[in-house]
Symmetry: D2
Subunit: 442 residues, 4 copies
């Protein structure tokens, strides 16, 4: 049922001249419209031999940007925005960019924001949508979080959501959220199709873990890393200044250890990075505890950085799921704290372990400059896509180009660190940790 190809769905023929005035020729110093024939190649890794083969049309990505002709008459548009899931730096930047582009570039004046995620579509919560105009959003990018509020869940109830869209005459919906949110958006598209409506649904992918496929680097991720670095600096100071000090930091990363890996590369004070993609053992001569003891005895202190999804096979991971349907993880930070403390107590070796869990501080931060730029561009180009009648897609950046990705394609797989690849290789070189802490392997 779900499309897994690269073709973006459109609502229909584009007949409305765009109010955005651009050029169609080069060298006139005026920026150009993006033409529907502009694509980029997705699979760029090759060998000299392979390069002789042809690249098929079905692995090309459509470039984002304003089209000369658009689908919606701006005067008829009622647009809505919803933000779902956990906080992430840049949410307000994206909201701001969408509103500004709709209002000033296209003249769309009917813009509403649903409150607290998909829950805002359900009247029983008494969460009236708020009107969004430039004055309401002009300064919001200076603050973390989302002015719309956010929550998990309710995305699976597409019928009720489409009821609300119909009742409010909304014909463009921007869904800012992660995997679960965009799956919800896909369900909404199915229901829209079923009813024969012409509502564009354009997603802006949000995942602080950077775990969405077909997204080169998710917005807020760089900011998250820059904040995680501060906790590592604290952990290192605490560790280095105490007798056998151990700094232990847990960061986000349920299924993908990108924040942990990048943080370790950014600050050269981490000795052990633990990520979900690479298993490790605690016990045995090649396990983490023995390696930690060796480090303490030679250097007097150590810093451990664990992604929240690391080592989930170690503790008895609980089986419950949160409101978005994500499996609840065992708390690897508290688990390691307890195991390490017990281990050295049993050995009668004094250690001073300081555990830092900066999760909320990281995710509620305002976007840094580079993420602000990225969010501004994602938001504006999401608007261009929606006004052109594109739907069932997310706006993304691949190979540094803004592109349109079919939503079904984006949610089909997760983005994870390749343990065979160059990122993990560079991380191991930076930390000097063992290639693999599994007994019987090196």
């Amino acid at each position: 049922m779900q499309k897994t190809d690269f073709t973006v769905t459109t609502l229909g023929e584009r007949t409305v001249p765009s109010p955005v005035k651009l050029s169609t020729v080069n060298d006139d110093y005026i920026a150009n419209y993006t033409d529907d024939s502009e694509y980029i190649i997705y699979d760029i890794e090759t060998t000299p031999d392979a390069a002789q083969r042809t690249f098929a049309k079905d692995r090309l990505l459509e470039k984002a940007g304003p089209r000369q002709k658009i689908y919606f008459n701006p005067a008829d548009v009622c647009a809505a925005i919803v933000t779902c899931g956990g906080l992430c730096p840049g949410l307000n930047d994206v909201i701001r960019a969408i509103v500004m582009c709709l209002w000033y570039r296209y003249g769309v004046k009917n813009i509403v924001g649903f409150r607290y995620g998909y829950r805002g579509f359900f009247s029983e919560f008494n969460l009236a949508p708020i009107n969004l105009a430039p004055a309401a959003v002009t300064d919001i990018h200076r603050r973390g979080g989302t002015i719309l509020g956010s929550s998990r869940g309710y995305g699976g109830r597409a019928e009720r959501i489409v009821d609300t869209l119909e009742r409010m005459n909304i014909n463009i919906l921007f869904t800012i959220g992660g995997d679960g949110t965009q799956r919800g958006a896909l369900g909404i598209c199915r229901e829209i199709d079923r009813r024969g409506l012409t509502i564009a649904v354009v997603g802006v992918p949000k995942t602080i873990d950077n775990d969405l496929s077909f997204v080169q680097k998710s917005f807020g991720f760089e900011t998250a890393v820059s904040k995680a670095v501060i906790s590592i600096a604290s952990a290192h100071t605490e560790a280095a200044d105490a007798v056998n000090g151990i700094g232990l930091v847990k960061v986000m990363g349920r299924q993908s250890g990108f924040i942990a890996a990048h943080t370790a590369l950014a600050i050269n004070d981490v000795n052990f990075v633990l990520v979900p993609e690479v298993p490790f053992e605690l016990e045995g001569e090649n396990g983490l505890l023995a390696r930690l003891e060796t480090r303490l005895k030679s250097r007097g202190h150590a810093v451990i950085l664990a992604a929240e999804g690391a080592g989930q096979d170690l503790p008895a991971a609980s089986e419950t799921k949160d409101a978005s349907g994500n499996a609840t993880l065992a708390d690897i930070g508290l688990f390691l704290k307890q195991k390490i403390t017990a281990c050295f107590k049993a050995k009668n070796m004094e250690v001073n372990l300081k555990y830092i869990d900066p999760g909320y501080i990281i995710r509620s931060a305002p976007a840094n400059a580079n993420d602000s730029i990225y969010c501004a561009r994602l938001g504006a180009n999401a608007v261009h896509a929606a006004m052109a009648g594109k739907t069932e897609m997310i706006i993304s950046m691949i190979h540094n180009r803004l592109v349109h990705i079919p939503t079904a394609l984006a949610v089909a797989t997760k983005n994870t660190i390749d343990p065979d690849g160059p990122l993990w290789r560079d991380v191991l070189e930076a930390t000097g940790q063992p290639q693999l802490m599994i007994n019987g392997k090196s």
Copy 2:
């Protein structure tokens, strides 16, 4: 004479087993060596029709990374580092990464740093090179600038430089610098060839302006933008809080306006961005001064952001060149300050112009987290390239992959903003400024 193709030069056959222990198979959770057959496609923009054509071997980029067999025996290596030109965030990060990778990964213990750029090669300046070991570089990435010092010029005197390399038995040279520095490196390679020496010369491209071709985004650039943003915030506050306040900020960008463009996108307080790539006029109804007056009369304040190379056709640009041979620019900031002040004085209209020139504050800043990551990876992979006997090349990132670029190719053209392209388009949308401030055009 200069090669302009994509093929990287190597000093000779690689026969030494690398001391870096990695894997050659997938799915063992151990990172892999990079193989010489791994390439990426450079030209990724296409159309569905064009995608049917084949991609020729001559536009592929070789991937960076540690090779299983290397050229140099680590025990025989004497490596040298030199930093040239203006300061840029991340220089110390690169130096640190090179030293750490040489020392800990390859066991190279003879590493020297030349002082104050290429000048350090000339004995008459009495600038003895300094020995570089981990203890000397472990914390330097927390500070801006370069511990080696830097200066312009002297790169053209390859004979004297190679004399010094020979005298000191140096067989790997890392040149961290921009366009002029890498041209100097190319000359050094020519002289090395002429003498039949086997010295690897690997460049790490440094340009705060982001104006080097075949470099997706230069290190330090993001940090520079994040610092420029602070000056724009100041300029906006000063402008908004004064009667007809005008905030005028000059940032780096001799031939490329990337810092100005990105800064304007990052902070939504800029009303006019002036870059070298797009001409503008001061006078006339469509000139900057008239547009500025309109803005002041409607909103009461304005912020102008000028790249230093903007509007060079306007004032009588001086003809002198600096020590690196760069044409000296007229100071567009002071020029605009004077022109704007005179214009409104003549109109008897009170304006309060505040001029901010944050150049030194920007370029002397320590790298932010993302630039630190980038520098750490550039430095380590420059070492991998050099140990493998690659030469006449720079290490770079293209389409988010670390690659080897022949130096001649990298310096053949400049990287500039495409006024027809999406970056400039998004900038104009963010500032709301006229498409073109040339009379007779809109």
Copy 3:
């Protein structure tokens, strides 16, 4: 005519019970009202012998705080705020605190803000005052500058200002500004007296230079120092990384070198601090230029930090005055840059001087945490004073207590660094510069 004693003027008997509900007894865990009998001793420096003498009532300072009975009936109050002179970190914090305390503590709902300083009182400028309520100020402390705008001058025209106060039925005026502003406020009080009106005028002293007497440390000063430190770090990096590098930084300080002195103490990279209070010579063996040459020859670089009012006897200081009546200073930064460059050119000694003028970046910054606290307390206690009918006074902190200071007393003298005292002594120890750069003295 002006009072120079320590007695605070009150408009009349206080008969209205305060709506602020506090305690009058100790040990009930409820904060107490401030009683009019609470004072602090101003002259605390003494010797054991002198301590035997009595302290006279005429050198005591009245403590600030809410009174149990107040003068104004909150329902009858129309309060106004004006911000004058140059920007300073914390202005918005003070505005916010005044509005919040008036509105929530006293129930005053008529609050207006005059635009662009005293100019806002003059109808010919068409600058209608704006209404101030909590919603308008709740987030303004996160931004630098002043939401009311600011400008210099017009404070001397008290008649016109009091005309406006009368016309608008304003009975409390908060004047946030420096020396000139508070002198203006004094003139307004004179005119109010002359007309027999009962209008309270309470000043909040603002001086980024920290040059107001009877103010222990002015708000925004600490923030200014913390921002100046960044420029010194830049100057030091630029100096240390160039051949005979000289970093030259100019900071605020027309008559008082406090910002320069504190900045030098905060960051240990300054070699020469130049302040208005201590003369120096350029030429001669004990002059700055010779000392600078010695430093360059021994250490290879130097950092100079000059307050804008330093060395005004050296260049031909211009005679003009700005709109506030302050004498216009010669630009010591550009002057030194020129003199130093010329000096070493004449000696044929290469130097690389980098000049940084961070003035606007410093003064437009948002207040740091400690200044925010201070501003919050100054604003609230200014309201308590005004509601109690205190007038012709400024709110201040002395010996860490919030107190009331008669305006005439505060503007009678300037606060300057005592070259004989401990602050300057500690600065010289930190920089290691000569005690005095005057020839014929050491």
Copy 4:
């Protein structure tokens, strides 16, 4: 046995001319020595009537600063530094200032640092003291923590410590630490007296809680507040963006709630501040839980800031003590989290509580500019005191003057917030919380 008066002990007559060259006359632009007759009045609060009384010599504080004649011959001095207890911003600044002043001002070249607190005096730990010279400390103030390491305990074993001092011929000891550390120093002085030795012991008071008496504001405190503010901003964002969001932050403050109180004043997003000095109840109509419910129902979110020592009468506080002998506190943060969650679960009311514990991030931060200034001055003036033969004292700032305080006096009482006083009053005005959350009182 312990002196509780204000008189500072000296080791004996001062006969050595100080190598620090200063002036003894005014108006020569040369800073002056401090004379032993210079004092400040400690009790400055008064009433006009009381001001007539005399101030007795026994409540005056001796001013700090370099004396013209000193006690120790610099060539004979061997100085030692020890840092004890928890980390605090500015420790490295103080170490640096002591070393620099000893070395450059007095020519003392024998300086050692004991490792990991008083434990470093005990040979069984194999913690050899490290030599301290300018090169070792020049950049350490840029980093948090202490280069000497720190730990708790061992201060009570004065005999062993004095054994080490004698064995190493140390005649000046600087003890950087809090209450417990300075009590330890007092015991060391007793033992020194008993043995008839002439060793000066000068303390630099360190308490991130600001709970030491006779210290106007402890170093690192402002930095701590500035970092706590970041967590409140996070907590507020998390609270405001969730359905019935509650942000709960725990900060340091075992017996004194100064960090919590100042943080609430610095950022206007806290609704409930809980400090050790003011009791509160959880249950009942005036208890915290009912007040919290009211707040959530009216505003939809709330932020609670708890000092770690708040509400210790509520939970069953444990009876154990840590290595310094401090009573171990129940974790008020986790306790409140559990109580609040249970309360609203029982009411079937959805709340989203986010708990942030930024303790390690706060205390390991580098000092901000103002704390750096303060530390630089504390360190230098501690050296001046010690070289003059002052002992059994701490260096402190009172009424903005650097002074000498007898150690016995400083440790006799704790500094706490006065619930009747102006600080707590201003806090309640800023938060709008009830005066007292005790049932039966308002």
